[in-house]
């Protein structure tokens, strides 16, 4: 809303409270239909399991980790979250297309180069992926769905993510402002 050039369609976003209410209702509906919340990192986990199982099936079956997610009659990709994330991709693309935001670019603060941004993004993704496994879910699966269902772990994950974020924001301010 506070975007500089208000006339540009691509910087006009939904009112955050409206977005929040819609997201909350969607999450509620998801619980009502499926008994579980939303997620995101789980789909990447399934992809990891699927590729490892494809490349070295023997190792995958031996490993305590991968074997949890492998069954003989089903692809590890056949999970609820994988389908959900396919939907996310489609939905985000649709929204981006309608708002005229489809544009290939590296978004970065003027203080850093695109290269720095990409390195930081990859490293950030790496850490987020690692953390999401410890947290048994990411911002959507643990913090959002967890907190909404009053799970202690959800609040701990939320406080962990945002608390750490604020604690270290100053150190990494060059990346953003």
């Amino acid at each position: 809303m506070k975007a500089p050039n208000r006339n540009d369609r691509s910087t006009r976003y939904l009112n955050p409270y409206l977005g929040g209410v819609l997201l909350g209702l969607l999450l509620l509906m998801t619980y009502f239909i499926t008994g579980r919340g939303l997620g995101a990192s789980g789909a990447v986990k399934s992809t990891v399991v699927a590729t490892v199982n494809e490349i070295t099936p023997e190792y995958a079956h031996r490993s305590n980790y991968y074997s949890q997610f492998i069954s003989d009659d089903e692809s590890p990709l056949n999970t609820w979250l994988v389908f959900e994330v396919l939907g996310v991709l489609a939905g985000a693309f649709l929204s981006g297309a309608l708002a005229g935001r489809l544009k290939l670019k590296v978004e970065h603060s003027p203080g850093i180069t695109a290269g720095t941004r990409l390195v930081a993004a990859t490293l950030g993704g790496f850490l987020f992926g690692l953390g999401s496994q410890f947290g048994r879910g990411c911002t959507s699966g643990a913090a959002l769905s967890g907190s909404a269902s009053l799970a202690l772990s959800g609040f701990l994950a939320m406080m962990g993510i945002f608390g750490t974020g604020y604690a270290i924001a100053w150190i990494f301010r060059k990346l953003w402002v």
Binding site: Y17, R36, L38, A43, S132, G141
Partner: protein
Amino acid sequence: MMMKDKAYWILTAVLLMLGGGLLIFSPAGKPDEVPPAELFRAMHDSSRFMCTDEVTRRIIEEDPSLLLIDVRNPESYRSFSLPGAINIPLTDLLLPEWGDYLRAPGMEKVLYSNDDIMAGQAWILCTRLGITDLYIMRGGLNLWADHILTPEAPPETASMELTDRYRFRLGARLYFTGGTGTGVSATQAEPIPVVRREKKTTIQGGC
């Protein structure tokens, strides 16, 4: 300015109203439980019983919607129990792990013990927890054994209905005893494997 942020004030008003409603409706209440008056009514409703013949018929027909629950202790259960019954000792009834069985949708849960007493206690506990489709096998295993394992022949002059029931019980006895004739004592019966159903659906989550 902030005051002009209409969306914020609408959100605040609606959420506070809904949140306040929650406080009023369900303060410390335990909505899971059935109120005493309703429980009292249910306790005096004889349809909570299922007769031994009905249970027997459904065992023989392998009715998939029947879930027999033996509430006696594990030793008694091991020495004799009805085919397909699961064992939930009365003392363990409230453990959360049994929730899946007791709340299984579309299943008619039949509780039994040696007589009506323990099954009756279990029935009251479960009903209080809001579990439905719950029955007691009237007379318990003792009456079941009397009726099915040692059926009493009706007098010659008995009605068709009684004679039919006798025939049914004779047939059932054959079914349960494997045709070895009369006088099968409970302890001789084959041990029935404990049937533990898989959970209907496991809800998984997280990402």
